[in-house]
């Protein structure tokens, strides 16, 4: 691992590096991706998208705190992601409900009308 002396020093003091948080965020992102690919239930797919967005949020905040804590731009970016994901969840759920009203199903495989 290419850790500079400076980074290694911070790690020795705090016991935690930014890499810890990045690792956890990567695992969460991968799990969310696996859920999006494997899930057949529409709402579970939406929840896994939220999981991926949260992992990205964690990366923003961790890097903000470990790289440049005197400028909180990373946290502001995380707030924007929060806003967009709330909007996405509302619209996504409205689409799911409209689909359910029309077809009485939440199975992704039932919505293959546009399949070529």
């Amino acid at each position: 691992m290419m850790m500079s002396a400076e980074v290694a020093e911070v790690a020795a003091v705090a016991g935690l590096t930014v890499h810890h948080y990045l690792g956890v965020a990567t695992i969460l992102f991968g799990l969310g991706f696996a859920g999006v690919v494997s899930s057949r239930h529409l709402i579970r797919t939406l929840m896994c998208v939220e999981l991926m967005l949260n992992a990205v949020n964690l990366v923003f905040v961790a890097i903000n705190n470990h790289v440049n804590p005197s400028d909180l731009s990373g946290q502001v970016f995380a707030i924007f992601i929060l806003t967009i994901s709330a909007a996405e969840a509302a619209v996504g759920l409205a689409i799911v409900l409209a689909l359910f009203k029309n077809t009485a199903s939440v199975d992704v495989e039932d919505f293959s009308r546009l399949k070529w």
Partner: protein
Amino acid sequence: MFESTLFWIFATVAIGAALGVVLAPSVLYSALSLIVVFFSIAAFFLLNNADFLATAQVLVYGVGLTIVMLFGIMFTGDTPLKEKAGKLGRLLIASISSVALFALIFTSVLGFNIKQFPASAQWIRELHEQGSTLAIGQLLFSKYVLPFEVASILLLGAMIGAILLSKKTFTSQEPGLTFSIQEGRLKPTLSAEWRKDVGFVDAEVATEEAPSSTEELKKECSL
């Protein structure tokens, strides 16, 4: 030392609950374990001096969003999906692709090495005493004021869109023909005037002969 203990506890909880989100047999359980993931990510935010964001995370994600998801599950009914072949292949594809994605990101993350700008001790002390709310508010209304306004327009659009989408959408062109969902099936009902116009005599016969499933309905419509 204390911080790293907390980190490992919450990392275990978050990853276990995320596994629950993906693998839980019922969607309801997945929504409940999603709450656990959101709260442990809020704890990570607290460990990173982001107190305002941790609060927002609990309010927006941990409470608001999961309630919306639970409402969605309640409206659609927590019925298990029909078993279909190819579940194993689907899981295999998902795990292979996500492990590949994970390896790709993880190797690049391990090499992450950027020049750090350590903050002054006074700034850290102020941050710990006052919290990050003031600094974030100043940034939002000075440097990021344009994205802030754009986000408000986006929220307005999303709200209008969600309301429009979740209105009663399936309205038929025929004034006397309405559709409702009964026992998970789309059920058409004919009004009395419509039946008289078409020539049905008995109301009971008319409702009984009405197509009860979507397939039959499609067949009738195409005829």
